[in-house]
Symmetry: none
Subunit: 145 residues, 2 copies
């Protein structure tokens, strides 16, 4: 099974470029889809995984205002990114703002996608603390974890 693993730190430069960790590049094959994540981060998908998801979303009825918003939000915040000669992608302004990206990044493999976090935002999330929250652990238990 193909999956993205590991955590890396890197920087974004003045031209909105960030180097995709070399370990992830082979799996992406020169290009990738960059999208808004469900949390305050960005996702990198392979082309195949993105298209699978896009096809599902494309089938939603446009007569429904909520779905129109969702479609707009999803496609409007997705970008096809080609890696440059140095293995970097360009992060568009709208996505950069969404993820509160300043300078330092944390890039982490999350199974079928790569997540890009602002270092500051990521630091706020602490797993050890979360695991002490009984509401959360109850929720986990329902899934046999």
């Amino acid at each position: 099974m193909k999956m993205f693993l590991g955590t890396y730190t890197n920087k974004i430069d003045d031209k909105n470029r960030m180097a995709v960790p070399a370990k992830f590049r082979d799996q992406l094959g020169g290009k990738c889809m960059l999208t808004k994540g469900f949390d305050e981060c960005l996702y990198i998908y392979t082309m195949e995984d993105f298209e699978e998801m896009a096809a599902k979303i494309a089938a939603l009825p446009q007569s429904d205002a909520d779905f129109r918003e969702f479609i707009r939000d999803f496609f409007g915040n997705s970008e096809l990114c080609e890696l440059d000669g140095q293995g970097r992608i360009k992060i568009p302004q709208n996505l950069r703002e969404y993820a509160h990206i300043n300078k330092d990044l944390v890039t982490t493999g999350a199974m079928n996608k790569v997540e890009i976090w602002s270092a500051e935002t990521k630091a706020d999330f602490d797993l050890a603390k979360k695991m002490k929250d009984s509401k959360f652990t109850d929720k986990l238990r329902e899934f046999s974890i």
Copy 2:
């Protein structure tokens, strides 16, 4: 899969012209259909997609007064636009008013169409959206997304 992606900001000039983002131009091929959007924005369709949409709408039963009004509104506010030498289209007055377009625009890819928003209207719309987000995720789940 061919689709419109990404969000861009641009301006409309004193001659009612706006530059179509370069990324979208190739897919449009020199001309496009400009229509009134379902929300307070305008849509740009490719010729093929417009015709597909138009065929669906034209097939609505004319015996129904609601549909008659919808058909009238749709075709009455559709315009064939040719891109000029700089890749710009002209926005007619009626559509400009409908979308409350002043000067600054937000242009966003939304799968099979491009949406043109007044920057101010879009900002208000996005804010309102934030409020409703949690309810909406429940609705999405019914579609396995």
